[in-house]
């Protein structure tokens, strides 16, 4: 129970019969920084969605931050999720809330004091370079701006783990690097980071642990590895 994330022989079959994951065994330590790479449709997002129980597994066991994810009671689920900052591949911003409200929502959920919220939200938005877009609604933002709101929301509560599903897919290289530096800094302070990505340059430059998923299986798991998953 010293690991942040542990998976034992995890299988996931979607209701329509797609075998997304086929026997995953993985251990991620507290404070680690892990890239998850692999071709499109390999199962990276599924792998990630199991951790905060957006999807339920078909077989196996998952422990995240001390929770037995599959055995969680209905009312424990929010507890699990509050310790995880998730950056969704498709952002999932609340369409009726503006940038500020979207980020503050995550703090209201944990019943943070108003004062803390008022101080912290602009801080985080500054970090992702969106301080002048606070009043904009999601559909008034560019793709990359929306992605950065999603990043800000994931960071705002200083969660124990950050799970990021292609957080730089819609960002230009320069902004991507800024975000990666941010992640590195956060990681340095002890936060575990799991990040699915297609960005070869980032993976190859910022050498970290790399987990390669292909066809629902882990085909490589290497510390300080590179992107390429071709044998």
């Amino acid at each position: 129970m010293n690991y942040m994330i542990e998976m034992f022989n995890v299988w996931k079959t979607y209701p329509n019969g797609v075998y997304a994951l086929r026997g995953i065994n993985i251990k991620i330590d507290k404070g680690e920084f892990v890239y998850v790479v692999g071709p499109s449709g390999a199962g990276k997002s599924t792998f990630i969605k199991l951790m905060y129980r957006e999807e339920r597994l078909t077989k196996g066991k998952i422990f995240v931050n001390g929770f037995n994810v599959e055995r969680l009671k209905e009312r424990q689920i929010p507890q699990l999720r509050r310790n995880i900052g998730v950056i969704f591949q498709d952002y999932r911003l609340l369409p009726n809330l503006n940038v500020y409200e979207n980020v503050s929502f995550a703090m209201e959920v944990i019943e943070a004091p108003k004062k803390t919220i008022k101080k912290r939200v602009p801080e985080v938005l500054e970090l992702v370079g969106l301080k002048d877009k606070m009043a904009a609604l999601p559909n008034q933002l560019s793709g990359g701006e929306q992605q950065r709101v999603a990043i800000a929301r994931a960071l705002v509560n200083n969660p124990a783990v950050i799970i990021a599903d292609e957080p730089t897919g819609n960002l230009d290289p320069e902004t991507s690097w800024e975000i990666m530096e941010l992640f590195e800094k956060i990681n340095f302070r002890g936060t575990t980071i799991v990040m699915a990505t297609h960005n070869k340059e980032i993976v190859d430059t910022m050498k970290k642990r790399v987990i390669v998923i292909k066809d629902g299986k882990v085909t490589r798991d290497e510390y300080r590895g590179g992107y390429s998953y071709e044998d």
């Binding site: 929010p78 999720r81 998730v86 209201e108 108003k114």
Partner: protein
């Protein structure tokens, strides 16, 4: 839940009413229209019931006394009748008064009755009224048992018919009111469900970000309450003023003044409270029901 969180839910719920502008409008107008129909029908049903009651209360029992009766024997009989359960009033009509009334009723043809005064063939009678029309039958039977009473009549067949009609009208009214109430509930809940369905994804996102079920429900609770209140305002105003107008019109129209409608008060209060309660109840219930469906993630 901390107080500041409660404040937040109140604020969010109110804001959502504005944020979902078009949807709110659609839901509120569905509530409005449905409650309007329901309210109008309630007023109608209450008045039909009232009119039926008035008509039923006009039923009276005619008690014929023996021709040979002495004046001193009348008062004890009256007391006996009065003592029967459910008797409201007893009025004595002497044979002379009876003949006068008969002549009046004959009108032009009264000359047919001339000459009857000398040897009045009528009986002295009591006119008995009951508190509850349904007790008429029982009271009539009790009166029959009294000495010197030679006949008891309340037009049994006609009254039975009348009661059958009023009962049917009441039943139909009740069926309509109950049917309409369920319909109103269904339609409003249905509309709210659809508007919330459009926010399915929102609710899912909230859950994924770590919100508890109640954290998500509360603003919807507030929203549902407001929806109900907003939706019942127009119907209440329309019905109360419309009814007042109708009453005035009826009172000023002499041919129709026999329509004995219920007075504006307390009807106005009853309807208002009823409509707001129904609106709020269904608003909250509909919201809670539909949010529930999407919390399972």
């Amino acid at each position: 839940m901390r107080i500041r969180t409660f404040g937040r839910h109140l604020k969010e719920g109110t804001k959502n009413i504005v944020r979902n502008g078009w949807m709110t409008f659609a839901a509120v107008s569905a509530v409005t229209v449905t409650l309007l129909i329901l309210g109008v029908f309630l007023v109608l049903a209450m008045n039909i019931n009232h009119i039926a009651e008035v008509i039923e209360n006009q039923v009276e029992i005619t008690v014929e006394l023996d021709l040979s009766i002495e004046e001193s024997q009348i008062s004890p009989i009256e007391d006996q009748i009065r003592n029967i359960d459910g008797v409201k009033s007893v009025v004595f009509v002497s044979k002379e008064e009876g003949l006068e009334q008969l002549k009046e009723r004959f009108g032009e043809d009264a000359y047919l009755l001339e000459g009857l005064e000398e040897e009045n063939p009528l009986n002295d009678i009591f006119i008995v009224k009951a508190y509850k029309p349904e007790n008429i039958d029982y009271i009539a039977k009790e009166i029959t048992k009294i000495d010197l009473v030679t006949g008891v009549d309340y037009g049994k067949t006609t009254v039975d018919k009348l009661f059958a009609v009023t009962r049917w009208i009441r039943h139909i009214g009740l069926i309509f009111v109950v049917g309409l109430s369920f319909t109103a509930m269904f339609l409003i809940a249905n509309t709210i469900k659809i508007t919330i369905y459009a926010r399915k994804r929102e609710i899912e996102i909230m859950k994924l970000v770590g919100a508890t079920n109640w954290f998500i429900r509360w603003p919807f609770f507030v929203e549902g309450t407001l929806l109900g209140i907003l939706g019942s305002l127009v119907p209440i105003v329309l019905i109360v003023f419309g009814y007042e107008f109708l009453l005035e019109k009826l009172n000023s129209n002499l041919t129709l003044s026999f329509f004995q409608l219920l007075p504006l008060y307390p009807l106005a209060y009853q309807i208002s409270i009823l409509l707001v309660s129904i609106g709020v109840f269904i608003g909250v219930w509909g919201s809670m029901m539909s949010v529930h469906r999407f919390l399972k993630i």
